[in-house]
């Protein structure tokens, strides 16, 4: 794919790595905020190519991982209703609530469907006027505009049997929370490129300044990530925190004004619980009052849910970079990708799942080569 493959070129990766090696003089902990970046790092083995001094901490940027247990339990309850067609992005189906997941709801007869886009859910609502079609609206600032559009269109077209279970989260408050943690180990952030495609970069200078931390807006292909690391390391080595845009082909300072306007119309900022972390003030979006009739929590009474998060799961600390997954006692014993206790073991870009895979190589560390093979 054009503008994708070019940024996977291993020859150019060597140049970026050379530059990083030439720059780094001491240990730095960089957090890539976004699960998509984590995925790319693991997939391509990028962490293994970096100089030993550079540690990549996988941040809380997987929307699947951070969706609070209570919301998932609500989703499971709504999806179990006989009159409901429950639509979700594929990633969410395996995430455990208190004891089961959407797969099991489907196995028990619930009509749970994987959709590619929220507009697919809206189409289903039009095709099945006798059913209540509920869309599970999760995601960061990137996914919020598409979901907002689905609600907006439902209102515009008068599709009354459509509603959304909203659990949107916002990145900047999360970065703030991480930096405020007393145990914080993060020296610099690779900010989430596609979040910034929508939101622009205006939220970051204040954070960079306040916490004296470099923030590099970073893309998702191997060269993009290496470039993000290169920029962050350079800023760290020079002792010059600030904000840089290493993903200019997709990120403009102002983001996408049309999308931001729609977000302002459909959603309003709210406090939001992050799974395993707790409530972060102002870190989420909920439907604005005037779209309340499309709010699945309003339409279906799903109060009184008794959530049960396994006590032994320490994914909150993992998500904040305070704990390495293998330091969790459950890791690899009671908690495996097959039998996850926490969301970070579920999604393939979850930190625990990534570690599990990597560590399965056992005592033998993987051979790391800087020069491309094959």
């Amino acid at each position: 794919m054009k503008y994708l493959e070019e940024f996977q070129n291993p020859d150019l990766a060597v140049r970026l790595l050379d530059d990083i090696r030439a720059t780094v003089t001491r240990p730095w902990a960089l957090m890539e905020v976004c699960g998509g970046q984590t995925h790319s790092i693991i997939r391509h083995g990028i962490d293994q190519l970096l100089p030993e001094q550079i540690e990549l901490i996988h941040g809380p940027g997987c929307p699947v991982c951070v969706t609070p247990l209570e919301v998932i339990d609500k989703a499971l309850e709504i999806a179990s209703r006989p009159d409901v067609v429950f639509c979700s992005f594929g990633d969410m189906l395996r995430v455990p609530g208190s004891g089961r997941d959407l797969f099991r709801v489907r196995a028990a007869g619930g009509d749970v469907r994987v959709v590619y886009s929220p507009l697919d859910a809206l189409r289903l609502a039009r095709e099945h006027p006798d059913k209540e079609v509920v869309f599970f609206g999760i995601g960061f600032e990137t996914t919020a505009p598409p979901n907002a559009m689905a609600v907006h269109q439902a209102a515009r077209l008068g599709i009354r049997n459509f509603s959304m279970l909203v659990s949107h989260v916002r990145v900047p408050p999360a970065i703030e929370a991480i930096m405020q943690s007393p145990d914080c180990r993060v020296d610099a952030f690779l900010a989430a490129g596609h979040v910034c495609s929508v939101m622009g970069t205006g939220e970051y200078p204040e954070l960079a300044e306040r916490f004296e931390v470099p923030i590099v807006v970073t893309g998702f292909e191997p060269l993009d990530i290496l470039e993000g690391v290169r920029r962050a390391v350079r800023m760290l080595e020079r002792g010059e925190p600030g904000v840089e845009n290493a993903y200019p082909r997709a990120v403009r300072p102002e983001g996408n004004p049309a999308a931001r306007a729609m977000l302002a119309d459909v959603f309003e900022v709210t406090d939001r619980a992050w799974r395993g972390i707790g409530t972060i003030p102002g870190s989420g979006w909920r439907l604005a009052e005037r779209y309340r009739e499309f709010d699945a929590e309003h339409r279906f009474s799903v109060a009184g849910i008794d959530t049960r998060e396994p006590a032994e799961c320490r994914s909150g600390e993992v998500l904040q970079g305070l704990l390495k997954p293998h330091q969790c006692e459950a890791f690899g014993t009671t908690c495996t990708p097959r039998t996850p206790l926490g969301a970070t073991m579920v999604s393939s870009e979850g930190a625990c799942a990534a570690y599990y895979l990597y560590r399965r190589l056992g005592g033998t560390p993987a051979t790391v080569e800087a020069t491309p093979v094959g």
Partner: protein, 373 residues
């Protein structure tokens, strides 16, 4: 193959873990899964995905019921002795949606899938059985189209449909047409091809680009629809295998990377033989359209199903000649060496990434789902 090494039959389901304290410094080399069927009171889609859940079902439910020594036989095909001959015997049900897709149909699959399972033992398929489970209300014309595709595929593959069965289930208890075929074929003398024969040093080959068939099907699956010019490469591989056997009867392993794709096929071989497999990411042929479809949906082409491709483990001394023979056959024109069998990391497949990093290629857990993240 059913057996995968991260499952242990010794652990007590759901209880052992609570009584064994986690070691202070976990020993990653000796993991077992202490709760293989935890929370699996009900069958989920993944149990049919050809990955770890399928393997568990075989290991924990079917193998004990049918008798221990048969476990190995519950793989894709079994080798039997009957009337003095060595036969391969295999079965598969076909539940693919939609019934017709670019480049093929459930009827083609039902022939080629079973013919190929036999070919993976080195057997030339001779006879097929063919059983239809029809859903009340399906159009007779649709049944006829599928039957015609099946008949045509059988003629192309040189196999005879020898016996059949038809059942009809009530509307709402099926999905148009489910098909089952079983096949039998003769294994030539001196041929002993099975996953357990993989040994360190073997060269790993693939007969052509992977992910094509699954991508063609996804492109017409409800809710995923996308435009793409790739068509299923669904084909019968008996002739290709014959050409390879003409080089040497000493092929170690053949495997058709169907459900679970290349990743599952390699993982099963590694597990069955207790060897490691190293794959050079760059060497695995993936057509750009397949790679791009996967990029759009957040999937991995190595996990996408094939039907019409094979993976071969070949002793190094024959590797070049086998590769040349494959490339001379129309169904192996794009064959490639993709890796080697190693002593390290037994039971595991490790990819050398394009950037020189390494990555564990895990068994798929169940079905692949489009991701947003």
């Amino acid at each position: 193959m059913a057996d995968i090494t991260d499952l242990s039959r010794t652990g007590e389901p759901g209880r052992a873990a609570a009584t064994v304290p986690a070691p202070a410094a976990p020993d990653f080399s000796g993991w077992t899964c202490p709760a293989p069927l935890r929370d699996q009171e009900h069958i989920v889609m993944g149990h049919g995905g050809g990955g770890a859940l399928s393997a568990e079902l075989v290991e924990h439910v079917f193998a004990p019921a049918f008798g221990g020594p048969l476990l190995a036989g519950l793989g894709d095909s079994a080798v039997l002795r009957l009337g003095g001959a060595r036969l391969a015997f295999s079965t598969d049900s076909y539940v693919v949606r939609p019934l017709f897709f670019p480049g093929g149909s459930i009827g083609d699959l039902a022939v080629n899938g079973t013919v190929n399972d036999l070919a993976m033992s080195g057997a030339k398929a001779a006879y097929l059985s063919c059983a239809f489970i029809l859903e009340e209300g399906v159009e007779t014309a649709t049944v006829a189209r599928v039957a015609q595709a099946l008949g045509a595929a059988a003629r192309t593959a040189g196999v005879e449909v020898a016996t059949g069965d038809t059942k009809v289930v009530e509307a709402g208890h099926g999905d148009g047409i489910y098909l089952n075929t079983a096949g039998i074929g003769l294994i030539p003398d001196g041929v002993d091809i099975r996953p357990q024969r993989a040994v360190p040093g073997d060269v790993v080959l693939v007969s052509g680009p992977v992910g094509v068939h699954g991508t063609a099907i996804m492109s017409v699956r409800e809710g995923l629809e996308f435009g793409v010019s790739v068509r299923s490469d669904c084909a019968a591989l008996g002739g290709l295998v014959e050409a390879m056997l003409a080089v040497t009867p000493d092929l170690h392993v053949l495997r058709d990377p169907t459900r679970g794709g290349l990743a599952a096929a390699l993982g099963e071989i590694a597990a069955a033989a207790g060897v490691g497999v190293t794959v050079q990411e760059r060497s695995v042929p993936v057509p750009p359209e397949v790679a791009n479809a996967c990029a759009v949906l957040g999937l991995d082409p190595w996990y996408v199903a094939n039907e019409g491709k094979l993976v071969a483990f070949v002793p190094p001394e024959h590797a070049d000649a086998v590769l040349a023979a494959m490339r001379s056959h129309p169904l192996g024109a794009e064959a490639a060496v993709i890796g080697t069998c190693v002593e390290e990391h037994p039971g595991m497949v490790v990819a050398r990434t394009t950037f020189g990093g390494t990555r564990v290629v895990d068994m798929p857990l169940g079905e692949q789902l489009p991701r947003i993240c």
